[in-house]
Amino acid sequence: MNISGHALNMAIYFSALLFFAGISFRIAGWLSVPNPLKIPTTPAPLTPAGTVARMLGELLFFRSLWKADKLLWAVGYIFHLSLLLVVLRHLRYFLYPVPESILRFSDIGIYAGFTLAASLLYLLARRLIIDRVAYISNVMDYFYLLLIILISMTGLLMKFFFRPNLIEIKDLMLHAAALDPIAMSAGMSIFFLVHLSMVMLLAALFPFGKLMHAGGVLISPTRAMVNNARRSRHINPWAEKEWDTMLSEADKETGAYMPWSPEQWRDRWKR
């Protein structure tokens, strides 16, 4: 086997593994921690159906962000929508034949490449310009922004100036996607290699940093919990054990951890 020709394939599989396994691992980690109490930020729907509608509002329309900052909402929305369209357009490199329904979004994907880059530049600029946002921004915030900017720029450059050999790329990627990898031919476009490497880096890091907000929003307890605590009892799985532990340490003399019953309390206060 031609190891050097397959180095790229190995990197693709490794980053894809980190991406999917990492995401599952993180979400499983969150779900393993219980919600002791009902804490929806109210006004919150009183029924599960209403809560689903609320979550759809967050997911599809970024409803809370709309309340917070209209400009950031607009740019954030353009960014995420552009990203979606660009990814859809890229499915042509992984699927054969490409479904008709996806092809329909393909042309708009080109324009989305521009709005993607533009919205990212705004997001970067506001981190530098607005004093509040500059104060809270850390190294990783800039790192992810620059990484995605680099990905989008190399993509646009390939589209309009330095066109790589698409037949070769498609062949390589379709085979990799079908788990039937072929060796990369010599002389592959450097822009493509940079583009793909950055995407792999992004995918590999995705589960381990702030980009996981994409998975977290769906289980965020202040949004996803139903506001029906008064009517339907929510169970805290660790409550009983913790209460029993406390009782075993309770001390009537000092009063430490002592949940005074009415009788004990009366005895204490002569009432």
């Binding site: 002791p36 900052d69 509040r132 929003v217 965020s220 202040t222 169970i235 951890y257």
Partner: protein, 517 residues
């Protein structure tokens, strides 16, 4: 020469007396430029009283010697027990949507009072000790910090400049709630021996004596008798406030401040008049003499559960059919949203009222059914506006309706007065600003912070004062009442312009001696 240890925690947390600076009232809330460390000096006093600390089961000798291990162990425990805390550590993208939403940031300009920056104090420690990158690279990546005395001091300072009002969580695209993080942080600080005086003096009193003011049973009975005499003098009618009466229909619980603080007591008159006029038998309890539950203020589940237990026990012991509670913000959140989880349903109650009811729901129902009548003209000297209390607005519902916590109090006010006007829409309902003293920041030691934290609410109020001659701010929270009546004079308004909705009911209710109805 002796070298001064700059990192001594007692120096870092030393309380200083600071003269309150009152912000200028313009009627507008503008987002300030950040000013580094502007509120670093506003520190809460520490609880040093050893017997109280022992009763609370907390370290009683200041910061414990091996504090770092204890701290990280407790933090690990919080991350395993509260999904909110764990998730919120991971998913913030620092977009800044919350950055200009906190009343303490708007008032102090200190960037660490931006909700995201406050959360980052915990995240920086989290990244260092609880993530792969922190274990690999330590604090070298720049987004993590070592846990040292200075970080500890920042935690104590800024997690006691958060009133857990949840306004930031309304705007966060992922629903990150700083209150959850602050509650965990306070519990961690408690575990290493940095215990805030105001909150934990009160938790101790509530657990062991039964109410926040530490009133022993005889004192409660005395002050109730005093109120009854007052009512008789005011109205000429014998309006009883029954106490510990087995078999009454309703157990009524309310913050102990209502027993004598001003303006709280005016609402107590209101509660008594409503029960009297509706002819519903009721009782208060010396054992459950407190509605407020300061156990909510940190993630200490058992503390909150012990305090809540009294209401549950008293309802059972007094064999009542309903539980109704007075005007208090976090009491309502705990009783309506948490009590069912902690102690189960009140399933022995009259099943038409299977859960505790809020006095606003209860009173409005009585008005709508014709059981009591109000004469609005009695309040014609008032133009009223309403301050949504944070814990009611963003942590509960009223009347089984999604926005009942906004509509029911307003409907009740409209029954009491002819002139009601709302403040600016960005400062009410779910976007309401905290009064500036919630969740453990009401102590006199925090007055300089309280004055600044009240700024957004005061600006919104100033606007309706100018445009509509508003002269009464109606509230349904004991902490809001105490804060506002203290802050009003500093801003140049009379403290009499603050009061409960039930105070408005008290002034307008039509009372009759019952004549063989």
């Amino acid at each position: 020469m002796e070298e001064v240890d700059k990192k001594d925690i007692n120096d870092l947390l030393k309380w200083k007396k600071i003269k309150p600076e009152v912000p200028e009232l313009t009627g507008n809330i503008s987002v300030p430029e950040i000013k580094l460390w502007a509120s670093l000096d506003y520190k809460s006093q520490l609880l040093k009283q050893k017997d109280a600390l022992k009763r609370l089961g907390l370290p009683s000798d200041g910061l414990v010697p091996d504090w770092k291990n204890k701290f990280l162990a407790k933090m690990g425990e919080m991350l395993k027990k509260y999904r909110s805390v764990r998730l919120f550590m991971d998913i913030c993208v620092r977009c800044g949507a919350c950055a200009d939403k906190c009343h303490y940031f708007l008032g102090t300009k200190d960037p660490l009072n931006m909700p995201v920056a406050r959360q980052e104090l915990m995240r920086r420690v989290y990244r260092r000790y609880f993530t792969i990158s922190g274990r690999l690279f330590g604090s070298r990546l720049g987004s993590a910090d070592e846990l040292d005395e200075e970080m500890l001091a920042l935690w104590y300072t800024y997690f006691y400049q958060c009133s857990e009002c949840r306004r930031c969580s309304v705007f966060c695209p992922y629903g990150i709630d700083t209150a959850e993080i602050t509650m965990a942080a306070r519990e961690i600080l408690n575990s290493v021996g940095l215990v805030q005086k105001y909150t934990y003096e009160i938790v101790d009193k509530a657990q062991n004596i039964g109410n926040n003011l530490g009133m022993v049973p005889d004192a409660i009975v005395n002050s109730i008798e005093f109120v009854q005499d007052d009512l008789k003098e005011q109205t000429g009618i014998d309006i009883k406030i029954p106490i510990d009466e087995v078999g009454a229909e309703v157990l009524f619980v309310t913050p102990s401040a209502d027993f004598f603080a001003s303006p709280h007591i005016e609402s107590l008159y209101g509660y008594a008049k409503v029960f009297h006029q509706a002819g519903i038998s009721w009782t208060m309890s010396t054992y459950a003499s407190e509605g407020g539950n300061f156990g909510l203020f940190s993630h200490n589940y058992n503390q909150m559960k012990i305090i809540n237990k009294r209401i549950w026990d008293a309802a059972k012991e007094l064999k009542v059919k309903r539980v109704v509670c007075g005007e208090c913000g976090h009491m309502w959140r705990v009783l309506s949203s948490f009590s069912n989880t902690m102690w189960g349903p009140f399933d022995w109650l009259d099943q038409r009222y299977p859960a505790p009811q809020h006095i606003c729901e209860f009173t409005l129902d009585l008005i709508n059914s014709g059981a009591i009548k109000l004469d609005k003209t009695a309040n014609d000297d008032l133009t009223v506006t309403f301050h949504d209390s944070c814990q009611v607005a963003r942590g509960s519902e009223l009347g089984g309706k999604i926005d009942g916590q906004f509509e029911i109090p307003r409907a009740l006010i409209r029954e009491c007065v002819n002139r009601f006007v709302d403040m600016h829409e960005d400062t009410i309902r779910e976007k309401t600003y905290c009064c500036g003293a919630g969740q453990g920041l009401l102590g006199d030691d925090m007055l300089p912070l309280r004055v600044k934290g009240a700024m957004p609410r005061m600006q919104a109020l100033k606007r309706v004062k100018d445009s509509h001659d508003v002269n009464f701010l109606a509230l349904i929270c004991a902490i809001c009442k105490a804060q506002m009546s203290k802050i009003f004079p500093l801003y140049g308004y009379p403290m009499e312009e603050v009061g409960g909705i039930l105070q408005l009911v008290s002034r307008s209710i039509v009372l009759r001696n019952k004549e063989g109805v």
